[in-house]
Amino acid sequence: MIPAGLLALLPELWIGLLFSAILALDLRWKETRSSTMGMLTAVGLMPLFPLLWWQHSSLHPADLLSGMYRLDPMALLFKGIFSASAILVTLMTRELGKTIQRGHGEFYLLLLTATLGMFFAASSANFIMLFVSLELIAITFYVLTAYLQTDLHSLEAGMKYLVLGSLASGLLLYGFAFIYGATGSLQFSKIQEALSHHQASLPVPLLFGLLLALSGILFKVAAVPFQLWVPDVYQGAPTPVTAFLSVGSKAAGILVVFRVLQELFLLQAHQWSPIIAWIAGLTIAYGNLGAIPQTNIKRLLGYSSIGHAGYLLIGIATATTLGSAGTNFYLISYLFTNLAVFLVVTAFSRQTGSDEIRDYAGLSKRSPFLAAAMFIALLSLAGVPPLAGFFGKFLLLMSAVTEGYLPLAIVGAAAVVVSLYYYLLIVYTMYADKPEDPTPIPVSAPVRLALLLCLVAMLGIGIWQGPFLRISLAASFQ
C-alpha cells in the first residue's frame, strides 16, 4: 500500500525527477544542444496532465502530510494551468537562441524550479509552507529576470524586481505573523476554525495582518497600488520570463488570494469584498489607461496584464461561486491567449531583434500566420466573441452585476473599449501599414504548433464553453 501522501506528491516528484535529469544532461552536454534540452523539458512536462487527471479522478480531496499539503480540485486546476504555461514558455525559450549567451540548461532548470514552487503553492495548507513556496517562485524569477547578463535593461529589471519583491515578501511574512498571533495557528484548517468566532467583524490585529498579507500577495498579482514594478520588469526581462511572469506568477498570486480570502476569511467577506472591488476597479482603469501611450509591445503587454489582473479580482470581490468560476475561467483563457501573444512576440523579435510596435508594420505580409495569430489573440484579450476571453469577461461582469457591483461592472465594460483601442492600433499596424523590410519571417515548427494549439484553445473555449465552465465551477469554493 502506497501512502496517500506520496500519491498526492507524484506530480511534484515528477518535476523533481525531470529537474535532476536536465541537470545531469546539462553537465554532460555542450551548449549547442540546448534546443534539444528545451524539447526534452517541454516533453518531460507533458506527463503531468495525465497525472493530474488521474489524481482528480481517483484521489479524494484531503489535507495530507500532517496538514501541510492540500489536494483539492482548485489546486489541481491551477497545477494544470502552471504546467501548460511552463510547457509553452519552454517552447518560447528555445526561440531565444543566441540572445542568451550562456547557461541555456540552467534557464530550463530555473523554469522547472519556478514551476515546482507554483505546484507547492497550489497545494499549501499552511502559512509556512505557502511562504516557502512563494519565495521559491520569487527568487527564481529574480534570477530569470536578470538572465541577459549583458543587457542593462534586463539587469535593471532584475534589480527592481528583487528590491520590490523582497519588500513584498516581508509584508507577506509580517501579515502571516499577525494572523498567527491572533489565531494561534499556521494551519489553514485551524485558522478557519478560529476565525469562525469573528463573523461580525475582525479584531484589529487580524484585520491588520490580513491587509499586510494581501499587500504582499497583490504584488504578485500586480494589482494597484502594487503594480509599479510591472512595466520595467516586463520590458527588461527575457520575453519567455515576461510571459511566465504574466501568466504563471499571476495565476499563483490569484490562487493565494483565493486561498486566503475565500477559504480562510470567507465569513468576513462583507469586510474585504468592497476593498477588493475598489482595487479591482482601479487596477482595471490603471492598466488599460497606462497601456494607451506605449510604443514597446512588452511594455504594453505589461500594462494590459495589470488590467487583466483587475478583471481576475472582480470574481474574488464578488465572493460567490459564479465569481470564482469566472476568475478560474478567465485564467484558463488568459493562459492560452496571453501566451499566444508572447509566442508571436518571441518569434518576431528572434528575426527582427525588435519589440517596438512600429516594427510590426506589414506583419500580415511578412508572415500571415503570425499576424493572424496575433490578431485573434489580441481580440481574445480584449474580450471579443466568440473567443475565449469574451466568455471569461462575460462571467465576471455577470457576477459583478448580480452582486450589485454595478459601477465595477461599468468600469470593466468601459475598459473593454479602451483595451480594444490599443490592441486594434497594433492590428492596424500589422495589417494596413507598409512594411519597411518585406523579408518573410520564418516560424519554427514547435512555435507554429504551440500557436495552433493556442488558437484552437481560444476558439474552442470561446465557442464550447460548457466543459470549461464545469471545470471552473468544480474548482471554485462553494
Binding site: 462575460f394 452585476v401 468601459a414 483601442y421 486594434l424 465552465l469
Partner: protein, 496 residues
Amino acid sequence: MNPITGILLCPIVGSLILLLVPQRRSNWVRWISTVATGIPVLICMALLIQFPRGHAGYQWVQKIPWIPALGIQYQVGVDGISLTLLLLHVLCGFTGVLISYRIKERVKEYYIFYLLLIGGVAGVFVSLDLFFFYLFYEMAVIPMFPLIGIWGSGDKKYATMKLTLYLTAGAVLALIGLLALYAVSGAHSFDLIFLERYLTQNPIPGHLQKWLFPFLLIGFGVIAPMWPLHSWSPMGHAAAPSAVSMLHAGVLMKLGSYAILRIAVQLLPQGAYTWLPWVALLCIMNIIYGGFVALAQKDMKFLIGYSSSSHMGYVLLGIACLNPVGLNGAVLLMFAHGLMTATAFATVGHVYDQTHTRIISDWGGLARRIPFISTAFIIAAMASSGLPGFANFVSELLVFFGAWNSYRWSALAAVFGIVITAFYMLRAVRTAFFGPLNMRWAELEDAAGFERVPYLILIAALLIVGCWPRFLLEIISSSTGTVLSHLTHLETIAKL
C-alpha cells in the same frame, strides 16, 4: 437542418473554407463567397413564401441547450419583423459580394472578413437568446475594422477606429443592461421566447424598468444611430469600401433599431413608455439636423451617409409611436431604406473606383457616359425622396400617420425632412449626372453584362415591395401586433 441555422452557417462555413483556399486563386474565393451568400438568399425567399400569413409568434425555431447552468441556449427563429430584416440582409450581403468582384487586392482576406461580418449580422437577426444575440452583435462589429482599415479610402484609420470604438462602447453598455435585466428578472434565463412569456406574467418593477431601459436604448442607439451618437456613421460609410458601405448603411444600422424594438421595448415596456417620448424628440434632431448637414456635403458618400442617419430618425420615430401603424412603418422603412441606400452606395462605388474622386461637383454629366449606373442612382435618389411607387414612400407615410397623434411636432419635422431630402438628392443628381459631361470622365465605363445583376436585384426588390407593400406588411404587422398586444396587456396589469 433547420433553415435558419442554414442561413447563419453558410457564410461562417464559407469563411472557414476560404482559409484553406490558396491566396492566388482569387476566382475560387469569389465563387465560394458567391455561393455562401447566395444560398441564404434562396433559403430566405423560400421562407418568405412559406411564412404563415397572419400567424403570430416565431417560426422555424431551433433550440439547443448550450450552458444550462446559466440558462443559455442556442436558439434561433424568425417572426415577421426579423424575417423582413433577414431578407434585406441576405440581399445586401449577396449583392455586396457581386459588387466586390472589383476588389483586386488581398481578395482572400477581404472575403473572409466580409463573410464573418455577414454571419454576425445574420446571427443578430435570428437569435432568440440574449447571450447569442450579444455574441453575434459584437461579432458583426469587429470585422468592420479590418474591412475599412485595409480596403477603405480617405481618412480610414481614424474612421475605422472611431466606428469600432463607438459601436463597442454601445455594445458593452447594452451588455451591462442585458446582464442587469438577467439579474433583476429572476428568470435565470437568456431565452428570449421564455423571457417574453415570463415577464408578461411577472413584470419587472416599474422603477427598475425605467432605470434599465436607458442602458439598452443608448447602447443599441449608438448603432441606430441616434443623435447625438451618430458621428461615427457618415465617416465610416465614407471610408469603407463599397460593399461594406452597402452593408453598413443598409443593414448594420438597422441592428440598433431592431434590438431596441425586440429587446428593450418588448421586455421593458414601462421603460419604453417613459423614455420613448424623449427618443421622439431626439428624432427631430436626427431628421432635421442630419438633413441639413447632408445638405452641406460636397462628398457624395458623406451626403448619403448623413442622409442615412437622417432617415434612421424616421425609423426611431416609428418605433417611438408604439402603435401598429408607426411600428409597421418603421420596420418597412428599415427594409426599404436598406435597399435604397445599398443601391446608392453601390453606384457611387462604381464611379469612385474609376474617377478616384467623390466630390459631387467634380463629376458632372455622367448620365451621358454611364446611363445604367446613373439610372440606378437616380432611382435610389427618387426612392429616398419618398416618391410614390417605392417602399420608402409607403413606409414614411405610415410613420407620419403613426406619429401624428402622439408626437405632432416630430411628425411635422419628419414631413419637413422629406423636403430637405428631396432638395439635396435632386441637387446632387443634377450636379453629378446631368449638365455637360466633364471631359475628364470621357473614358468612364458603364456597368455591363454581369456587373448589372446586383443593381437589378436591389432595384427590383425596391420596386416590388413599393408597388405591393402588402406582401411584406402582412407578415410584419402580425408580429408588431404581438409586440403591441404584449404592451397593452402589461399596461392593464400596471393599472390594476
